[in-house]
Every structure is written in C-alpha cells, then in structure tokens.
C-alpha cells in the first residue's frame, strides 16, 4: 500500500515536471505588452494612424525624442537638447560665421566659431546622425505607407515624407559632401555616393513630388505643399555651382518665380505697431499673426505640446543674458550664451556722425538725462547742431528714459516740457523717451518747440547693446559682443507664450520663407540668370520697405551687386541657419576675402584651410563602415 502511494506520488511529480517543462517553451516568444509600444500593423492600420508616423518624420527635425522636452532621445552620444536639428543647424551654419558666438565651454562648441573643429566633434557627428536618422524614418514611412496608398491623403503623406527626406539630403550634401544614398530600409552597410549623385537625387525627388504634393496653400499649417518643393529647388539651384561645378541660375530663377507666384506672401502685418512687420515673423504667435503667410516650410514648436531644449526655446533662452529682462522675451531666464560679432552689427550701422555733420555746426545746446548714454550727472551733454539761427537738430541713439535740453552743460538755462505738448518751458518737466532707438531731434527756439521722431532705419537689426561690448575680448563672457533679440516667446501683443513656467517657447521656426526666395531670385539674376533685374529690385525693395517701415531704405538696380546680396542676405536671414552656405557660395567662408572676429581663432580673424568648407564625417561611423572615406583634411 505504501509503495503504491509512493509510486503515485512519484508519477505525479514527474508528470508535473514534464508538463511544466513543455508548456513554458512558448513563453519565450514574448511580445511587447507596454501600452506605449506598438507594432508596424498598429501604426500603419489606416490613414489616421499613419498620420502619427508622418508626424514623427517632421518632428525628427523639430523635437529630440518621444518624451518632451527630454527623456527618450532619438540620438545618443550627445546631450538630448543639443541633438535638435535646428539647434545643430545654428551651431554649424551660424556659429561658425560672423553671425554668432557662444559663451559656453561644452565639448567641441568653442571649436566651431574658432574654426578648429576636428573629426569627432560632438555637433558635426550628431548632425550627421540626426539627418541620417531622418532619412531612415522617412524611408520606413514611405515603404510602410505604400500599403495604404489607395487613400489619396496617404499619397500626400508619402510625397511629404519624400520632401523631408530630400531636405535632409540637401543638408547632408551641403554639410558633408559625399554621403551614403539610402532610399530604402536596409541593414546593409551603405557605400558613399558623390555630392553630384546626392544633388541629382534631391533634384529628381523634388521635381517628382512637385506634382504629388498638395496645391499651394491647400495643406494644413505645418505640412508642406508644392511650393516647398519649388522653394527648395530654388535654393538647390542657387548653390549648384558649389556642389556640382555647374551653375543652374536659370533654373533657380524659374523655380523662384513659381514659388513667388504662388499663394504665399511677405508678411506686412505689423500687429504690435513697432514700425515693421519683420519682428512678427519670430514671435510666439507666428503661426497665426500673419507671418504664416510667408512660411513655406517651418518647424513647429509649442511650449506645452512640443517641448525641446533645441528649436526656438534654445534660440531665445541662449540669447538672453546680461542685463536683458527675460520677461521681455517671454521666458523665465536667460542661458547667457549666444551673441554676435561686430561684423553683423555693422551691416546695419548708420553713420550718425556724417549725418550730423551735414546738419550744421556744433552748438552749445545739448541733451542731458538718463535717456542719453551719459546720464543726469553728466557734464558732457549730447550737443545739437545748428541748422539755422535758433534752429538745432541732431541724430542720436537714445535709451529708454528722460531728457532735457540745456545750454552749455549748465542747469542755468534749460528747457523741458510741462504738458508733453511739444512746447518747451524753461526749467520745464523732463521729456520722456518711451523706447530706446535712434531718433532725430529738433529744437526751435523761435517758437519754443521741439520734435523727437524715431529715425527710420533697418529694423531687422535687433540687437541688445545695454551693458554689452561691441568688441569681443573674451568669448566666454556674455557681455562681450552685442546680444540678439530677434526671437521671442511673446506674442504680437506682448504676452508670454503658453508655457507659464517660461521654459519652452511657442515660436515656430521658419526653415524656408518667401523672403529667402526673393533673395534667391535676385541673386540668381545678378549672377546672370535669365530673370528680370527690375523684378529683382522690386522684390528686394519689398523686403527693405518692411525692414525700414518706409521707402527710405529702397535701392536701385545699381546697388544690386553681389557684395550687396551677401550683406542683404545676412540682414534678412541672420540666425536662420543659412549663413555658412551663403559665405561658401561667395567664397568667403574659409578664405581671406572676408574675415570676422575670431575667425580662425584669431581676434581679428584670419583665413583657414579650405577643407573646412565641409565638415568631417563621424569617425565612429567610419570605424564601423569601411565603405566610407573621410573628407579631406580630417
């Protein structure tokens, strides 16, 4: 009996062991159970779900990962905030030029303005990763979405993904020259294509999708239409000579014209009434304040829903420091980083001395007050020029504050304005200057009247100079170099953006806007393209009209030289990610043709080796892909 019991016990035991052993084999095939993880079938179920995958293709240029602002990065080996596309575009295309300097000591960052970067630089590496990844995301999207292409909307998605891929390749070609050309999902190590091949690919893709994208203005905000393909072709052909050795200015003119004749228009909506509609392009509500009519391709940011430490959040925070009030920029604090060199500032300079000298001789009447640089305690007043007897005038840079007129630096004979009515009273009240700026001031002692009118100048030069030195001695000091106040996280009414903590900006970042196409057109014409010089001058004047708020900055055909074009592009497009490309096209990036402070790590600026017109391929990628050859010089 007992043996029987034991046998049964043993059999049960063994059976259990065997059954358990067999039943658990299938447990090895685990599928993701996380609610945030999906399979290909989930994602490409229909046009709706596929749209979220398309959103990633776009977002790979705007955001840095799946958790805003940081936490699930797309790219490794670099701080997630650093890895954002437009932030790196700024580092590689603006920081390397006369347009920008930075104070921070992050690995490899100072190398960029000093032009001594080496292979393995964090930013040149990460930009390559970012763009290649955008290509991979687009390739996967295009392949998988094919299954849904009976849906017309999905056809548009695919064309848009092809546009984003072409834009990524456009940048790869511009920054690195010869790169792999991969247009399908593959694990095979790619070989290097020539710059010409990449050029041809971008060109043929854009020519192809110009008919597949939605019509001009027919797509929703944030997604591209046909005009984007034309606009990128315009940029491609303008630079064709640099990349392929063959100039394509006629093609540039053609596609620029197509873009100019579409539904897009230059924003002239001066919502905040500061005398120009230019600054509206870079405000928190630039998706609705009128600026959007000019944006052919923009990266969309939002303080609550699209957060990143790159993008406009970077452009705004990093540019604020010194005595700048962060609240003026709609943010909670500056990062004390970016400024610019005097080379850019000087492009906007007006020669007040010459203008004043032409007014007449210096008089003993002067301006005193905290609106003048010397303050109330001064014994060195800003002297007025005598235009005729008892009539005085001066062009002067004033600060926000107050001032009075006085004679011979002495309070014995002074004038103010008691009722702010334009009539002067002896020892009258201080005269208020509401905003800093350049002013034209007149004083008429026959009638005891005066005028203070803002002097109409190029308002695109949005610099902050209070407490900043124009000259840069120490790159790491924020106060060396003028700050740039171009991008802001306040809307056209001055209200801060949607993120009440002041961390993340709402401001969208135009990548291609119509003004650039005007400049492309004009330059292609100047370079011999078969467009119209008159149209070119008109288009440039349209931009300058907006910049000056009047026709005072208009040019004529004789002004329209190549030298002018390079300067005008800086004035219109500085800090928008195109400066290096422009300088290379004008043979001025590495050469002694044009130098700026700390070019070549020299305070005065020196030429550097021409191989620096290209950035190095990542050494790490070279080490795992033997098919690739490093760019010369690195």
């Amino acid at each position: 009996m007992r043996t029987m019991k034991n046998k049964i016990f043993n059999l049960l035991l063994l059976t259990t062991v065997i059954l358990v052993g067999m039943s658990c084999q299938k447990d090895l095939d685990q599928q993701p159970i996380d609610p945030d993880s999906f399979t290909q079938n989930d994602v490409f179920k229909d046009a709706n779900t596929a749209k979220s995958a398309l959103a990633k293709v776009y977002a790979s240029l705007a955001l840095t990962g799946q958790q805003g602002p940081a936490g699930q990065p797309d790219i490794s080996d670099i701080d997630e905030g650093f890895s954002q596309f437009s932030r790196m575009l700024f580092n590689l295309n603006e920081l390397t030029t006369d347009n920008a300097v930075v104070a921070w000591g992050d690995a490899g960052l100072q190398d960029l303005h000093g032009m001594y970067w080496t292979a393995g630089n964090d930013f040149t590496d990460a930009m390559y990763y970012r763009l290649a990844q955008t290509v991979s995301f687009a390739n996967a999207f295009i392949e998988n979405a094919e299954a849904l292409n009976s849906d017309q909307e999905v056809k548009y998605y695919i064309a848009e993904a092809r546009f984003v891929r072409a834009y990524a390749y456009y940048n790869l070609m511009d920054l690195y020259g010869d790169v792999p050309l991969v247009s399908t999902v593959t694990t095979e190590l790619p070989t290097q294509a020539s710059r010409q091949e990449i050029f041809n690919f971008v060109e043929s893709e854009l020519l192809d999708i110009q008919n597949l994208l939605k019509d001009s203005g027919a797509n929703e905000y944030g997604r591209v239409d046909k005009v984007a393909a034309w606009a990128l072709l315009s940029r491609l052909y303008l630079n064709a000579e640099v990349w392929t050795g063959t100039n394509r200015y006629n093609d540039c003119v053609n596609f620029s014209e197509q873009a100019m004749n579409a539904t897009y228009s230059i924003n002239t909506n001066d919502v905040n009434g500061n005398g120009t509609a230019y600054d509206e392009l870079f405000l928190a509500d630039n998706n609705i304040n009128g600026a959007q009519s000019e944006f052919i391709f923009a990266l969309n940011f939002d303080g609550l829903h699209s957060q990143t430490y790159g993008g406009t959040t970077f452009l705004i925070h990093a540019a604020v420091g010194g005595s700048m009030a962060p609240s003026d920029f709609g943010i909670n604090g500056g990062w004390f980083g970016l400024r610019t060199t005097k080379s850019l500032v000087n492009l906007f300079a007006v020669d007040l001395n010459a203008m004043n000298n032409s007014l007449g001789t210096l008089s003993d009447w002067g301006l005193v007050g905290d609106a003048t640089p010397n303050g109330w305690g001064s014994t060195d007043d800003i002297e007025l020029h005598e235009t005729s007897t008892n009539h005085y005038a001066v062009y002067v840079d004033l600060l926000q504050g107050e001032l009075k007129f006085r004679y011979n630096e002495d309070w014995g004979n002074n004038y103010g304005d008691d009722n702010a009515d334009g009539t002067l009273e002896a020892s009258g009240a201080n005269i208020s200057i509401a905003a800093a700026g350049t002013y034209y001031i007149t004083m008429d002692l026959d009638n005891n009247t005066y005028t203070i009118t803002p002097y109409s100048s190029d308002k695109r030069g949005m610099f902050y100079s209070n407490g900043q030195n124009l000259e840069i001695e120490d790159m790491t000091q924020f106060t060396d170099g003028y700050a740039v106040a171009k991008f802001k996280n306040v809307d056209s009414n001055g209200n801060a953006g949607s993120d009440t903590s002041g961390d993340f900006a709402d401001t969208d970042l135009p990548i291609i806007r119509l003004a650039e196409i005007y400049l492309n057109y004009a330059e292609a014409v100047v370079r011999g393209g078969n467009g119209s010089m008159a149209t070119a001058v008109n288009k440039i004047n349209e931009l300058r009209m907006r910049a000056y708020g009047s026709a005072s900055g208009d040019i004529t055909a004789s002004d329209l030289t190549l030298d002018f074009m390079l300067k005008e592009r800086a004035r219109e497009l500085y800090w928008e990610g195109q400066r290096r490309t422009d300088l290379i096209r004008f043979d001025s990036f590495t050469t002694a043709n044009y130098v700026w402070p700390f070019k070549g790590n020299d305070p005065a600026g020196i030429a550097v080796d021409s191989y620096r017109n290209l950035f190095p391929l990542p050494t790490n990628v070279l080490s795992i892909n033997p098919n690739l050859t490093q760019n010369t010089g690195y």
Partner: protein
C-alpha cells in the same frame, strides 16, 4: 530531455530492492560542545545505502549492520565521524566544523563538501562577517574575499554596495553577480528601494558562498556571468527552542566636507576679482552650508529569533527592525523584516521539505540629494533665512525685474530650502518565499528528486512632494506631487534529479534538471505637475515581461578521494533574444587533485594540498532591455507631439532594432591551489585566472542609415580579466584563554578591452554639457580617463590653457587627448584580525586599494571664479582654485589630467571590542560590544573620499563615521 527522464525513471521502477538481514546498532549523537542531542544526523553504513537519521532526542537505530562495517555520522556544519560498528551501542559526540575542508558548501542545485570542490569557491560564515550597523548582506563580506569588491555607493542609510567579482566583465550589461537565496535566484529591486539585498536581515544569514570562476558558475548559465553569491539562511533545528535577541544603537557622525571657500576667503576673492555689481551682492554672514544640511544621525536595530521545533517540525522564526537616520537631514531608513523557516522530513527522511518565507516592509524617507551640490556652491556670505524672501523666508537669488518675484533661472537653490521643502518617501513591500522538496526515491534511494518553487514579489510605492514655496524661477510654479508604483514579480521553478553512487573507489554524482523563471515588471507613474499643465499623459504605465528557461546537467566524479572531476552543461533560452539565437550552451569542466591524500605526502606539513584546474563558459544578457529584436514603434508623450493645422499629433517612432543579438559569452580558465599546514595553523588558497568576455553586448554604434538610431545593443568587442588572488588565514596563537588569528587577502586584476572597433566615451561630468572624461578603448582598461596632459610651471603650478601637444601638429585639440589611468584598482587587499582573550574579543578590519585613480569633478566644475562677474548671483568657489588658479570655464580645463589623481588608499573599516558573560541567568549568555566604523582613511587623494564607484567625484553623499553599542543575548 523530458522524454529521457521518463525512460530513466521507468527503468528504475523495474530494479528490485535487495536486502540482507543482519544485526542492529543504536546510540545517541550529541553536540560535543554543548552536550545536547543532535537530531537529524545522517547515520550510514559506509559504502552502502543503508542509513537512517537521528530522532528528536538524537537517538538512532540502524539495523542490518555487519560487524565489520564502519558507520559514518554526518551532519551539516559538523565534522563527520567514522566509527567501526563492533559494538551494539555507539554514542557519538560531533564537533562543529565550520572551518574545515569537510564543511558542506552550497553550490548550484546541490551541495558539496569543501574538499570535493573543483572550482574557485569561497564560503564566508557569520564568524567572519563584518560587524557593525550593517543593513545589507553584501557589506558583511566587504574586504573578506580576494577578488570580490564591494563599494557602498554612498553614505546613505540602508544602501548596500555594488558587488563586483574579478573585475568588469561587461560594459553595457550589468556587472552585478547573481544572488541566489536558498536556491532561488533573485530578481532586481524596484524603484524606491535602496538595495536589492536589504530585504534579508543580516542576522538571518547562515553563510555566504561566492562562486568566482566559470567552472563553478556555469551551472547557473546565463545569469552567472558576473559570478554567483549564494546566500543560505539559517534553518530550524530539531531540538529545544533557543532564542536570541540582539539590539544595537548607532551614532553616525558626518566628518567629511568638500573643501570649498570659507565666507572670508570667498569675500576676499569677490572683492579682488569681481566688479562693483558682484561685490554688491555679497552678504555679511558666515554660513557653512554643508553643515546646514548634514546632521548627527542615530540608528537602532533589533532582531529576535527562535530556533527549535514545533510538532516535530524544525522551525526558525525571526523578526527584525531597523530604524536608521541618514546624515543628510530628513534621510531615514525604516525596515521591518520577518522570516520563517520550516524544515520537516517525512518517510524516514526520504522526503525533506524546506519552506522559507521572508517578508519585508520598508519606509524610506529620502533627503533631497540636490542639496549636496547646492550646499557646495551656495554663497557662504548669505544667511539661511531672509525675512523678505517670498520663498517661505529662505534666502534666494531673486531677479528684481520679475513679477511675481522669482529666482534667477540658473541660480542655485538654497540648500536648506531644498531639504526642508521637499518630501520624498517610498514604501517597499517584498515577499520572497520558496518551497523545496527533496525526495529520495523509496524504490531507488540513489536518486533524489528535487523541486524548488519560489516567488519573489516586490512592490514599491513612492510619493514625492515639492512645496510651492520652494525657490524657483518658474513664475507659475504650483509645487509638484508625484506618485509611482513599481512591481517586480519573479516566479521560478527549479526541478532536478540527482543520482549518487559510490562503488569501491568510484564516487559518482549525476544531476539533471530544468528551470523556468519569469519576471513581470509593472511600473506606474503619476505626475501631478503634468496634470496641472493640462497634459493628457500624466499617468504613465510601463510593462514588460521576461522569461528564462533552462536545462542543465552536472557530473561529479571522484576516484579514490584523490582525483575529482566536475563537468556541467547548461542550455539557456532567453526571451530577450530572437528565436534563432536565444539558445545558449554553457559548458564547464574542472579537475582537482587532492595531493595530500597521496602516499608520498604522508609525513608532510600539509594537512591539505589540492590542485585545481577548471574551465567554463557563461552567457550574459542581464540588464538587456526586452524586445530588442522586434520591430517596435514608441508613441510620444503629450509634451512631444507635433502640430499639423491646429492639432497636436502624438508621434510613432520606429525603435532601433537588432535582429541578430546573441549571447555575450565569458570564458574563464582558473588554476588554483588550496592548502593548509601544521594542523590549520596556516591555510589559504591561491588562484590564477584568465577570463575572456567575447561578443560583448554594448550600446554600440551603427551606421545611422541602416537603423533607426545611431546606437543599438550589438555584440561588439572583447574584454579580458587576468589576475591572481591569494588568501591566507593564520592562527597565530591558540591557547586555552587566548587566540589570535589573522586573515589576509590580496588580488591583482588586469582588466583590458582587447577588441573594440571604436572608442566609446563614457563618464559624463558636470561643468558644461556633454563632456565625458572616460572612454572604453581597445588596449586600455575600461573607464580609462581620456584627458589633456596639463603643462606645469617650475613651481609645479598648472599653466592654464597649456597642454602637451601630443601629436605635434601645432594645435591643441581633441586629438591631443590621451588615456591616463583608470578608476579600477589593479591591487586590492583586505586584512582582518581577531583576538580573543578569556571573555574579551577584539577585531579590526581594514582594506586597501592600490593604483586606482579618481577624477575630482567637484574641483573641476566648481573651482572657476569666472561666474562671479558673469552671473547676476554668486556661487561659491572650490578651494582648489588656490592651487590651480584656473580662471575660465573651458572644455580643456575641465578635461585636464590635473584633476585625475591617485586615489590609492588604506582604510580601517571597523574596530570592535566585545565582552561575553556566560550563564548570566540559567542558560542565558550575553555579549556586549562596541564598534567604530569608518575609522580612518589614509590616502593622498584630496577630494572627499578616495572610494567612489565609477571614479568620478561629484556630489557624493559622504560616508559617516559610526559608533555602535549593542548586546546579544542567547537564551
């Protein structure tokens, strides 16, 4: 495999059981020391299967014993005795035998006598454990075993140590050994828990066995790549109840502070280098911010256990409670543990059952560690409190332009406010239990079937609150309130058959089995701040599951007690790998020769002389995230949507994928000698090893055109560890009332990356963003510092910005960086000694690391005075400025080898003294003791502490000096 088992067992059924009638022998087995009867002793006629066990009173009756037979009495932890069966009554007194080579050592899926071991295995018993206020098991063996490094990550209470056996063998995967508690491999801990092992009350531990080489660990296959730490807990005994109560009180004193400028030094610096605005910011108080956030802390610990038997079932019960404050204010660790062990036997000891259940409840209060860095850099001329501050009266750097008032966005936050205005708690429940059945088949007692079923469940709940009053730069700050829940559920089944047979001089043991283990992870997070911001995904859920399935077999063969062979093979299947590559086969073989048993050794001084040689392979995927071989898309959070039209779309990202991921394999060859001379006056062992890790799984670069990221886990690169370990134990004096012994161990390990197609920069540091100071590079040690070579002037002062142009190209750029030292110590030593005089005992434990280097990131990031003039607030400067004189924040200053310095050290970890009072009342014995921990450190390193895992000194939670008083009562 299962079919085979079935066939074997079917055949076994057919084998008849033969018996011959002979006379019987009886007697009583007692403990030699106490004279108490020993129940459960194995009594066996030598060379036969004829055996029995002693009963509750230590009595036995063994029938059918031939007169010429020899009877073997054996009991775990006691020296076995062999006595000739020429009498009818044989009474035996066994003596405890913890140290001898006859002791039983737990190895994977079974036990072995120490003398029969063939691999590099160390056993540490409570006698040798470190003393003091230890809350986690691994700290018991710190410094005790050659080649085993235990580094406490910080001075926080309840935190254990990171354990590393024989150098680093993996770069991206975990380097933590496998912990096996009572035969059940553990899962990792949950968030909010300070340490994976601290659910075991150290006083419940009977032994810790460390399997170091792959010939020993291979039976655990893929989880054993970094060695195995086997913890056996104390069991019930079949005798009268004995009780033990222990309590101790500890006093923790902070004694190390980062050397930053005093308020006078800082004031002088600002006045001499700052502009008027900066000077105007100076305050007029003297605040030592570090002293403001640290405190003298107290801790108490109680444990109680009862061992005996209840209804003839051996039983052990224990409860423990620990309440320990941290030296960082508010930090507290509060733990209650309870455990029960039942070990009944049935059917004449044929069925042995062991039931273990262990529960833990921990309440952690986390002091705000952000205050550590902030206290280092906060301006010492400012007061803690400022009546005008809008932030609950804490002094803050208010931006005067702001309305409502906020702090400058980059300003440090008042450390005292950080501590006082945040609350961070976690509550951890952990239950681990197992039921083990060893059944010696009635019809074929050579075979034992074992089933061990275990469950290990941890649940962590955390809650952290930041006050709305805390100084912030966020004008719309409302405070935060986050909660999380994490659960790890680990289920395991081990089942195996063991066949033992001894025929003449041949002794064979064959074991084969199967194991199934699953891990369910369930993490949930509720973010109230996101909720306030109107985000939709304030509630986050992360789920994953892992399964590991294994078949294993092992052969032990012994010939004539002299020649030993162990061979094992394990097949592991992991759900982490793709179906084609998920099987890993891990073999091992080892040979040993008990030279002392040879005739020619008869009159030598050696009690033991054994030569061992072994080889084994183990796999590793531990720490690899699941599903890496599958195409997956990850959705974005609501803060990472993308705008089309006026809507924000969540995005789907294809995840980096590696369809070809396979096992990382470590292969170790070990050559060892064990010896004991002059009746164990001196004994120890020597091991030489070579461990090659192939196909390292690292977070490797991929061509970004071929994947959805620039890195994915891939099998790239190889690494090696070569080393030599020596352990010596000496009994210098052994007299009636005086004994003195010394244990010493020294290990040399050479850890090198032997194959790596690219440099992998690691070791992120503070000061700028994206700077790394270390690199994994072929030909160098892992984590080698990768730095610029500083140039010094004639007075040995570094010249700022001047470095050696190592590639002679006329410019200093990152091509001039070089590999300079590493944080890994090539030589590590441990020395402990214990003196017992009459009822007094006295012991000292010390350790030394030689050749380890440290990067002082506190100095490199905080000794630059440039911020005084560039920021609208002041931050204190590290005193190293007086030495370096560096003025600017630059990448090259930060990465100068000036900051990499020798951190070799000698540490006296522990000094203790105890006094024992026997028979204080009836059978009660009392021991009183006092201990000092963290007694002294001798080093040339000038930072806070020369021993920090990773080798980067920054914001380190200092280790306190601890004084403990306690008593232990046996009754």
């Amino acid at each position: 495999m299962n079919k085979l088992k079935f066939i074997i067992v079917s055949i076994l059924f057919a084998i008849p059981i033969l018996m011959t009638a002979q006379r019987s022998v009886n007697g009583t087995v007692t403990d030699k020391k106490t004279g108490e009867p020993l129940p459960g002793v194995n009594v066996l006629v030598k060379g036969t299967q004829n055996g029995t066990g002693t009963d509750f009173d230590g009595k036995y009756i063994l029938s059918n014993v031939p007169e010429t037979a020899v009877i073997v009495f054996s009991y775990l932890g006691y020296a076995p005795q062999e006595i000739s069966a020429n009498k009818n009554q044989i009474n035996v007194a066994l003596s405890e035998d913890a140290e001898s080579l006859n002791e039983v050592v737990v190895v994977g899926y079974g036990t072995s006598k120490k003398k029969d071991l063939t691999g590099a295995v160390n056993k540490v018993t409570p006698k040798k454990f470190n003393l003091g206020g230890i809350t986690s098991a691994e700290n018991l063996i710190m410094g005790k075993v050659a080649g085993v490094t235990v580094v406490a990550p910080s001075g926080a209470p309840g935190e254990g140590g990171s354990v590393n056996i024989r150098g680093l063998s993996s770069l991206s995967l975990t380097n933590t050994p496998l912990y096996v508690v009572d035969g059940i491999p553990l899962a990792g801990g949950v968030s909010g828990s300070r340490n994976v092992l601290n659910f075991i009350n150290p006083s419940d531990i009977a032994s810790i066995v460390i399997l170091k080489d792959a010939s020993a660990t291979a039976i655990y296959g893929s989880r054993a790549a970094n060695g195995v730490v086997m913890i056996t807990t104390k069991k019930g005994k079949n005798k009268e109840f004995k009780f033990n109560f222990e309590t101790k009180g500890s006093y923790y004193r902070p004694y190390q502070y980062v050397d930053v400028m005093t308020s006078n030094e800082f004031r002088n610096l600002v006045e001499s280098t700052g502009d008027a605005a900066a000077i105007g910011r100076l305050g007029d108080t003297n605040t030592n911010w570090q002293k403001q956030i640290y405190q003298v802390a107290m801790g108490v610990d109680y444990s109680f256990n009862a061992v005996g038997s209840f209804l003839n079932i051996p039983l052990r019960l224990s409860v423990g409670h620990t309440d320990q404050e941290g030296i960082l204010k508010k930090d507290e660790f509060n733990r209650t543990t309870a455990s029960i062990n039942l070990s009944p036997s049935y059917f004449d000891n044929h069925l042995k059952v062991e039931l273990n259940a262990r529960g833990m409840y921990t309440e952690n209060t986390f002091g705000n560690r952000g205050a550590i860095g902030s206290a280092i850099s906060y301006d010492p001329t400012q007061p803690v409190y400022d009546a005008n501050s809008p932030f609950a009266g804490y002094f803050s750097w208010i931006d005067p332009a702001s309305n409502p008032p906020v702090q400058y966005s980059l300003a440090p936050t008042n450390p005292v406010a950080l501590v006082n205005l945040t609350n961070d708690f976690s509550f951890i429940n952990r239950f681990a239990g197992n039921a083990k059945f060893d059944y010696k088949l009635h019809f074929f007692p050579d075979i034992t079937a074992t089933v061990n079923v275990g469950l290990d469940n941890s649940t962590g709940n955390g809650h952290s609150v930041t006050s709305r009053d805390i100084p912030t730069s966020n004008p719309s700050w409302l405070g935060t309130d986050n909660t999380y829940t994490n659960e790890v559920n680990n289920k395991i089944l081990n089942t195996y058959l063991t066949y033992s047979k001894k025929v003449n001089k041949h002794d064979v043991k064959l074991m084969a089995g199967y194991s199934y283990q699953s891990f369910d992870y369930d993490n949930r997070y509720y973010d109230d701040y996101q909720f306030q911001q109107g985000a939709t995904d304030y509630n986050k859920v992360d789920l994953s599951k892992e399964v590991l399935l294994s078949y294993f077999t092992r052969l032990n063969y012994k010939f004539n007690d002299k020649y030993l062979l162990t061979a094992s093979l394990r097949a592991d299947y992991s759900s982490l790998l793709n179906p084609d590559d998920r099987q890993g086969l891990f073999p091992s073989v080892a040979l040993a020769w008990n030279i002392d048993k040879e005739d020619f050794m008869k009159n030598s001084i050696f009690d033991v002389l054994k030569l061992r040689v072994g080889y084994g392979a183990v796999g590793n995927v531990n720490g690899l995230a699941p599903y890496k071989y599958l195409t997956r898309y990850q959705t974005s959070t609501s803060t990472a949507g993308y705008q089309f039209g006026s809507n924000f779309y969540q995005t789907y990202r294809p995840e980096p994928i590696n369809k070809n991921l396979r096992w990382e394999v470590g292969k170790t060859t070990n050559l060892g000698v064990d010896f004991s001379i002059l009746n164990r006056k001196l004994y120890g062992s020597l091991n030489l090893y070579n461990k090659q890790t192939k196909d390292l799984i690292i977070w490797s670069l991929v061509d970004p055109f071929t994947n959805f990221g620039n890195r994915v886990e891939s099998n790239v690169g190889d690494m090696e560890n070569k080393g030599i370990e020596l352990e010596l134990n000496g009994l210098l004096i052994k007299k009636n009332d005086l004994s003195w012994n010394i244990s010493y161990n020294i290990a040399y390990n050479d850890n090198k990356i032997t194959n790596m197609p690219f440099n992998q920069e690691v070791g992120g540091i503070e000061g700028g963003v994206g700077n790394n100071v270390q690199s994994h590079t072929e030909g160098y040690e892992p984590y080698s510092f990768y730095v610029y070579q500083q140039v010094y002037d004639v007075n040995d002062k570094p010249i700022e910005g001047v470095y050696v142009d190592r590639n002679d190209d006329g410019v200093i750029n990152n091509k001039d960086k070089y590999y300079y030292k590493s944080p890994l110590a090539p030589i590590q030593m441990g020395l402990s000694t214990r003196v017992v005089y009459k009822n007094f005992d006295f012991s000292i434990t010390s350790r030394s690391n030689i050749g380890n280097y440290m990067y002082n990131n506190v100095a490199s990031a905080k000794s630059i005075p440039a911020d005084i003039t560039t920021q609208p607030f002041l931050t204190n400067v590290h005193s190293d400025y007086f030495n370096s004189g560096f003025e600017t924040h630059s990448e090259t200053n930060l990465l100068s080898d000036y900051y990499v310095t020798d951190a070799s050290f000698v540490k006296i970890d522990n000094v203790s003294i105890g006094y024992r009072i026997d028979k204080i009342y009836k059978n009660a014995n009392l021991r009183l003791y006092g201990m000092l921990q963290n007694v002294a450190t001798f080093t040339e390193y000038t930072g806070l502490d020369p021993e920090m895992a990773g080798g980067i000194d920054n914001n380190f939670y200092p280790r306190p000096r601890t004084f403990t008083l306690g008593f232990n009562l046996d009754f």
